[in-house]
Symmetry: C3
Subunit: 385 residues, 3 copies
């Protein structure tokens, strides 16, 4: 106790309105999700030319398609003529073109308008030719990394290296560390989609801290005993949580998993690393598989989370049973999302008007809060007001 007799003050979180306001959510969609690189599709899901997937990015429906030249491209899912959605199914395959079923405007897989019925040579009524790219599909910036297609709706996308790759490097402490897992060469072993009645930031905050691990994750704490102390792997640069001495694999019962991925260093074996790639990706690294979460916020109080379990190609090819490793993180997911759903309703309470508090083991969450506030162009005082 100090001489002035003041009692200690804990660090504050964001105020409750950040988790409930439709206006804040709309600003987040515009300033964060439509302005950042977003992990959209596993590239291997679009192996063949003409294959496409429809993904919700911010408030936009985006088509990711593999063109005839083998390259992936992304477009807004809107016909330039009268605005019909080109694709209403979540995925599919076409031969050479995307054809709007309403008036048959037809686009090449690079977006160019190649046909429109009854417009002779695509001229307007003065006879002048129309620009087939100007009236082509609206393109969306796209890159590939870790075997995923990342897209960005911004007119001028931020640097992928500095944002996405930079966050992974900053967490692992070493630019080469992620490469050793060879994530782009892994195969999908299992995928589960969760529909969570909670704000996306509650899911991020939950993923970033481990103060709750001893309360709600008994299976995970059995595998990673240090998590019982409440310090998240993400509190430290380059730290991976070590498996318990009697644990033989990252599975629901600690039983053996599969062979260690070939490129890993000794410091990466028998360790669990967790990385938050803001705004919406979580990467979980263990010696024999990777778990990757993608979040799609649909409303201030609703977020869809797609979770992939990736394994070495031979594990998937041989049809090995991945149930026990899937089950471990599936339970963690369920436990986490239930906690987030229990928290969401209290965000509108007067008790949370100025937010809650962070204990020392959660102090790294404050940086996430500051990042959100700065992305929304708010001052810190306003955000916590």
């Amino acid at each position: 106790m100090t001489a002035t007799e003041q009692s200690a003050t804990l660090l504050a979180t964001l105020g409750g309105e950040f988790y409930t306001s439709a206006a804040v959510f709309a600003a987040e969609q515009a300033e964060i999700f439509e302005n950042s690189w977003i992990c959209a599709v596993r590239a291997a899901d679009l192996a063949q030319p003409g294959q496409f997937k429809k993904v919700q990015i911010g408030r936009e429906s985006v088509l990711v398609v593999r063109a005839r030249d083998g390259l992936l491209r992304a477009f807004l899912n809107v016909c330039r003529h009268r605005g019909a959605q080109l694709c209403t199914e979540s995925e599919g395959q076409v031969r050479r073109t995307l054809r709007c079923p309403y008036h048959a405007w037809t686009y090449a897989l690079d977006g160019k308008l190649v046909a429109a019925p009854n417009i002779v040579a695509l001229t307007d009524n003065t006879g002048a030719a129309i620009d087939r790219y100007r009236y082509g599909l609206v393109p969306v910036a796209l890159t590939e990394w870790l075997g995923y297609v990342w897209v960005c709706l911004a007119d001028v996308p931020p640097s992928f290296e500095e944002t996405v790759v930079g966050e992974v490097t900053l967490r692992l402490g070493d630019a080469a560390a992620i490469d050793r897992y060879g994530v782009e060469g892994l195969k999908l072993g299992h995928r589960i989609v969760y529909d969570v009645a909670a704000n996306w930031k509650l899911i991020v905050e939950n993923f970033m801290e481990c103060y709750h691990c001893s309360s709600i994750h008994p299976e995970l704490v059995d595998v990673l005993p240090e998590f019982a102390r409440g310090m998240a792997a993400q509190s430290f640069v380059g730290h991976g949580a070590e498996f318990g001495s009697d644990i033989t694999g990252f599975t629901v019962d600690g039983s053996p998993g599969f062979g260690t991925l070939p490129g890993l260093s000794d410091e990466q074996d028998r360790r669990y690393f967790a990385i938050t790639v803001r705004p919406s990706v979580f990467v979980n690294l263990v010696p024999d598989h990777i778990i990757l979460h993608r979040m799609y916020p649909l409303a201030a109080d609703r977020t869809v989370v797609e979770c992939d379990w990736l394994y070495a190609p031979d594990v998937v090819a041989a049809g090995h049973d991945v149930t026990r490793s899937v089950e471990l993180f599936h339970r963690v997911n369920q436990q986490d999302f239930e906690a987030c759903e229990r928290t969401q309703p209290a965000m509108s309470s007067r008790a949370y008007r100025h937010g809650g508090v962070l204990v020392p083991a959660e102090h790294h969450l404050a940086e996430f809060h500051q990042w959100v506030v700065s992305r929304l162009g708010m001052s810190d005082g306003c955000a916590r007001g």
Copy 2:
């Protein structure tokens, strides 16, 4: 290509916000649907004194009732005392009065307050008599045409002749053309109600153009081969689309319909005429029947459409099978409404912020867009901004 090397520009549609904004929809309800003549009820549905129907006009629940004197009248469906809805059922029949079930205030079928329990001689507590019309049901303007009851919520309704009749005359090019069908004397053969997840203006635009006919209406194009060229009958004054040479009736398979309606001119036989009566009625004329659509917009993205198939009285009286003619336009309706529902979600995309484009075959839609904009009291620049 001109000397300045500019490429051609297509005519723009309304911007996407016109189809999604709750504020625009509220303005449309106030300025368009509550300020125009709206086709409410087939008069023959209210044949007997005391019969009533409840209809949604703009944001108001309206009762249309046939009074003891045989005349039709319309009122707001609200008791003047404490506001209970007089009728909650969609239709019914009373003897001499409409009686509010809450406190038993009772109104004659001309709207006059005729009884209120325990108010001696309908005086207030000073003993002064109350005005039985002032506290009677709120009347709504009403007229009859084509066998339908049209109502208008405006304090000063526009001229029915200049608006409703005027639009029909303008399209057919001849004030007497519609009269020759004798629509008011026809009988209802079939009615289907559709609940469409799309803005009402998308439904109007779809009805007005035929550029989509070859894409989505195979049965209709079989009957009306010129529709394959994409020019709507509505692009021309007085033009009816001609039946194909091997077509014997306006039916789903081109098989014979019923006898040509007695008053038709030769120019009206073997022809399909389509008329849009803004804001919410479509009239389809063929030699042996009439198809009339009424739209009731419930939200920016939801519209109920009621479609009547009308035949000569002897066709209905004899119980002739109308299935094949009903099936043709029922399929057209389903095809059209599915296209509108596919379009609605894209209206909120940034790709449609400034609207889409009109091809020459759709240029007459621009006049509809200008009408909407002017009715909302917006400038054109604002509307397309």
Copy 3:
């Protein structure tokens, strides 16, 4: 008729917007329901230490709990750490503490923070001790009366005596009248929860007047014949409606009830008294039981009503059949709530923009309207504007 030949004018109600506007509803939650004493829980429902109930008060989830010292306390249902709801079940029992399941922050039943994992001696990261009440549960003011727990979310609650007790005394005309029923000692015989699609004020207005009794309450009018004249017991101070001469009990068929409660005066026997305790409680007194309604407004057009039937302890202990007395007011409730639900949709009509009218038998409702307007800080002109 006066010399100026004006016809009589009836007193106006509140305008329709008061019953439909989300903004008005939010203001009512803040200024009325979160600023008044609200009847929350029957105290006997929390007989044992550790028993708790979760109640919605205004926009807040409130926990009412009986502590180890036998006293009742109320708290916001929000963990002070990261905002999870402490209890998601509607009721339950704990041993000595309320423990948040997310991070295991643990509170004594007086709200004090007694444990938080991994925070040594509850210090912050400077080593300073944190204030265990500052970070304890947020307390809510609480008192007991009539055997119920009443809570108030206001920082400075109004006088319970002047508001709640004052309203009962004002209605009964005598401070001792309510005491003679010994309501706090009665036992719960039956409870029904109604979910009503209507604004809470429509339910209050309906309860306050009896002009509708002859229209919709045949069973009640059989028991209380004077109600056929439309004057509510609440129109007069100290007036109880007298049972009909052939009525032997306050039951659905007038058959005998139970013994008269021991303390009643002769003036209270064979009488029905009704009291509105604003904003949300109705008390109904008859010689052998009490019916108490509590309203919980959830939206401008939705209100949950919980209705308790209370009897002398020996009636409940002996397991006497209370069906016939429950059935009488259950029918009245159903009839009333159906009338309110029929009224709610018309509140948004232009016909009710400036409200409806009050007949002389309803003039006491105007005082309720003025109370609402003054609580919302509006001028009367504004309210009726």
